[in-house]
Structures are given as C-alpha cells and as structure tokens.
C-alpha cells in the first residue's frame, strides 16, 4: 500500500512587492498600476509514490522547489493542482527550533514545542525527563531560554523532536546537531527513528548522507521533476556530474523527466 502518493502536483507561490505594505501603499499601487503580485510555480507536475519503509532523498540545486514540496506534503501549503494522498500521521521537522520563545524557561519551552509538534499532554508528562536527559540540560530546566548557548538550544530542539512517532517523517537538513559527542548521539538517534519503520523524506545537501541512507531519489530542477528512481547511486552520480557540467537536458532525457531549461 502506498503511504504517500503525489499525483501531478503543482504548487504556486506568490512573489512580488506586495508583502510588507500598508493599506495606503496598496491603494496607491493599485491606482498607479504598480501593484506587483505574480504567481510563480515552485513545483510543476510532480508525481511519485512511496511505500512503508521507503526513504526518499530529494536532490536539486537552490530554487528547485524542494522546501515548497515538503511544505505541501506536511500540510502547511496546499497544492494548486493535483492531489496528495497521505495514509497516516505526518510529522515535518522543517526547522527544529520553531516555536521556542526566549522569555520562557527551558521547561516551559519544552512543553510548548512538544504541543506544537503534536504530542499529547500525557506523552509530554511521561517523556519530559527523557527529553531533558537526552539534551543534557538537567541543570538548566528553570533557566530562561535566552541565557542558553545556541548549542544548548539546538540540543533541546533535537531532543524534543527525536521522540516523534510518525508514519511519514519529513526532514529538512536536520540530521545532526551540536558538537562532538552530541553530534554522534543525535545521528544515531535519527537513524533509530528512521529504522523505526516510518516512511521518510529527506532533503540534504550532503550527497554522501543521501547515498548511504536513501532507497529512492527525487531529482528536482527549477520546479520540474527530472527523475524519480530507486537507482540511488546512479542518480546521485548523475546529479554530481550535472553539478559539474550544468547540462540538465541530458539527464532529463535519460530519466524521461522534465527540466526548467538550460543553465
């Protein structure tokens, strides 16, 4: 059974100078005809499906539409065309520190962040100790967050997130945090979550990580789907060659995909 299925999904993003303006600017710009709000296809006609236990790596250069695609799968954005079918609970770890507030203490932030991640209160009460222990912040529980070092903050962020039990896990470059010992610990923990049986989607700029962990590859180029294949090594090899040569057409032809035009 497919846990995740994307059928011809296109996602529009709005760009232009319409952000951060006031009512006054809006009226003036409308009268002068300079109001700037354009639709921009961040992703076009993406189709693929994943099964239980799959680990998908998404590759592509900046502006390929990777992050937007993740946002659509996690329900933050809605596809403008096409359909996304999801069986199960999606947890997206797009940014580990989202929701932390500098004025709150470590304990308060842990509960807030846990709530935002979709944990229940019962779960948080049971796991709170484990989270703090894993983050090695036993002595800082009641300290305001703003007095923590950035390393401590990311340790806590990782630790809270590491207790997720999703059916579909979405990771955006958040594999390992901290220094030395904690880095290894967090890497191991991430592998443990992935091995836990979930379907995982990973965006990473570290090709080695993708080679090592992924079972399928989605290659995006300026919003177009160049390739979707389970030949991970072959696709990453081709991707690395493309990064050298810049000739995208050749690979699109090879995989029967589309491109956003020559570089």
């Amino acid at each position: 059974m497919n846990t995740l299925e994307l059928d011809n999904v296109s996602i529009v993003y709005r760009v232009g100078g319409f952000k951060d303006i006031g009512l006054k600017d809006y009226v003036i710009q409308k009268i002068k005809g300079t109001y700037d709000c354009r639709d921009f296809y961040a992703d076009r006609n993406i189709s693929f499906s994943l099964q239980l236990g799959d680990m998908l790596g998404i590759i592509g250069s900046n502006g390929a539409g990777k992050s937007t695609l993740l946002k659509a799968i996690s329900g933050i954005m809605r596809p403008s065309e096409g359909k996304i079918n999801i069986n199960g609970v999606v947890v997206a770890l797009l940014e580990l520190g989202t929701g932390f507030d500098d004025e709150l203490t470590v304990k308060e932030n842990t509960f807030l962040r846990g709530a935002l991640l979709g944990y229940t209160r019962k779960f948080m009460n049971e796991r709170y100790r484990d989270i703090i222990d894993f983050a090695e912040l036993e002595d800082f529980e009641n300290r305001p967050f703003k007095y923590l070092s950035s390393g401590m903050k990311s340790r806590l962020a990782f630790s809270i997130a590491s207790f997720v039990q999703p059916d579909i896990l979405i990771l955006d470059e958040v594999m390992a945090v901290g220094d030395g010992g904690f880095r290894r610990k967090s890497e191991d923990k991430t592998r443990e979550i992935i091995a836990g049986g979930a379907t995982t989607i990973l965006v990473s700029h570290d090709q080695n990580q993708i080679r090592e962990m992924c079972t399928k590859i989605l290659w995006l180029d300026k919003g177009h789907q160049v390739a979707f294949t389970d030949d991970v090594q072959g696709a990453v090899n081709d991707y690395e060659e493309f990064l050298e040569s810049g000739n995208i057409e050749k690979y699109a032809e090879k995989y029967g995909g589309k491109t956003g035009g020559q570089y």
Binding site: D20, I76, L94, T98, G99, L104, E108, L116, Y119, T120
Partner: protein, 259 residues
C-alpha cells in the same frame, strides 16, 4: 474515525493551553504585579473620568461612577482584546510557516488573556456596585448574555483585524485611531438621551454600545431589554464572526504568501 478526531482535539487543546501560557508569561514576565497592573489601570482611568465628568453629568445621572464603570469596563475589554488580537497572526508567522497548526488558535489564545483581565475587573465592578448601594437583583443573571456577546464580538473582530494586519501592516496604526473614535461614540461618560431620538438610534450601530446599554439597563434601571434587543445583539455578533470566519477560511492557505 471518532477516535482520531478525539485525539486531534486533545492535541489542539494542549497546544492552545500552551499558547495561552506562553502569551501570559511573556506579557507579565512571571510577575503578579504585571497582572495587578492590568486591573489597576482601568480603575485609574475610572477615577480620573469620575472626578472630571461628575461635574458635568454627575447630578443628571444617578450612580454616575457605576454608570461610567459600565462603559469603561466593556470598552477596555474590547480595546484590549482587539489590539492584542490584531497582531496575533503575524507575530506567530514563524510558527505557521513551519508547522501545520490551526491558525485561529493564536488569536483565541490572545483573547483568553484579555478575558481574564476583564473577569478580574468585573469582580471589582461588583464590589463598587455594592459600595455605591446599587441594589443587586436576580436580573443580574442576565449579564451573562452581554458578556458572552462581548467575547464573541471580540473574537469576530479579532479574526478580521488579525487577517487584515497580515495583508496591510499599517492596520496596526489605523485601528487604535478608529478604536479611540469608537470610544467617544460609545457614550461612556455622557447620556445619549441628550440627543434627539432619531440620533439616539444611531448609537446602536456601535456594537460595543449595544452591550454597554444592556449592562446599564440591568445594573442601574433593573430592567431586562426586549427580545428584539437581544436578537439585534446576536445578529451583530454573528455578522462579525461570519465575516472573520470566511476570511480565515478563504485565506487560510494564502496567509503565508504575505509574511
């Protein structure tokens, strides 16, 4: 199906409670003094108004301090709830652009805070009524109606404002000005009966005044407003809630383009 819905609800409730706590703690920085201040500050306004305006209106209106208080307490609640609520969506943009959360929760959390302040001031209000010798009657039970209407009105207007604030940033400057004008049109310290009857009806277009009048009728006159009056208030509130709800529903997926 029902089980998963129940789980979703309990998760949302937990999230909501944590957001309320966060807003509370960041506002008062954990000090009780901060909370006390939000009760004292409307009382100081009341004191100043009472000293000044008693000279002009005091001998024409019975229990003038309570008359003032009715207006003050409801208007400060409206003012607090809408002004805090207005910024709730934009200020939480860093969350809803990264996590899939029901966006109205941010506004509701802010409203809880204003509601608590209102509740505390309401206690002081009743103490004042007792001191001033206003008779307590069973009709006070009816005050629940305008209180509920105020809560819903503030939510409705908060929905509209918080969305507008995402689209147009200067709403943050325009609303306090409008809100001040509305205060002068709420007959807080004067009596609308000084105007011609036709003009008096115009005051009822102001939803805050509808509630202030209700409060005064119960507390000072001991009369319960007509069924029509109740329906008018309900209609007004539903209108604002509907407009706010439709905006949130339609723009739910588009808010993130603007931040």
């Amino acid at each position: 199906m029902i089980k998963s819905l129940k789980l979703k609800l309990s998760k949302d409730r937990f999230m909501f409670a944590e957001l309320v706590k966060r807003d509370f703690k960041t506002k008062y920085k954990g000090s009780m003094l901060g909370m006390l201040w939000s009760v004292i500050s409307p009382l100081i306004t009341l004191l100043v108004m009472s000293v000044i305006f008693s000279r002009f209106f005091g001998n024409k209106i019975e229990h003038y301090t309570i008359y003032l208080f009715c207006g003050n307490i409801l208007f400060s609640y409206f003012n607090d709830a809408t002004n805090y609520g207005m910024t709730s969506l934009l200020w939480n943009a860093h969350i809803f652009t990264k996590i899939n959360v029901p966006k109205y929760l941010f506004l509701f959390a802010k409203n809880v805070q204003a509601m608590i302040n209102f509740g505390l001031t309401l206690c002081v209000f009743f103490i004042f009524c007792a001191i001033d010798g206003v008779p307590f009657t069973w009709k006070y039970v009816f005050l629940i109606y305008p209180i509920c209407m105020m809560i819903l009105l503030n939510l409705g207007i908060g929905l509209i404002l918080s969305a507008l604030h995402v689209f147009f940033r200067d709403v943050a400057h325009l609303w306090p000005i409008f809100s001040m004008l509305l205060m002068y049109a709420s007959a807080i310290f004067y009596d609308v009966r000084q105007f011609e009857p036709a003009f008096q009806k115009l005051f009822l277009c102001n939803p805050v005044y509808q509630n202030i009048k209700y409060f005064r009728l119960i507390v000072l006159d001991g009369t319960i407003p007509s069924v029509w009056y109740h329906l008018m208030m309900l209609g007004t509130v539903l209108l604002f809630l509907a407009v706010g709800g439709i905006i949130y529903y339609r723009y739910n997926w588009r808010f993130l383009y603007y931040v």
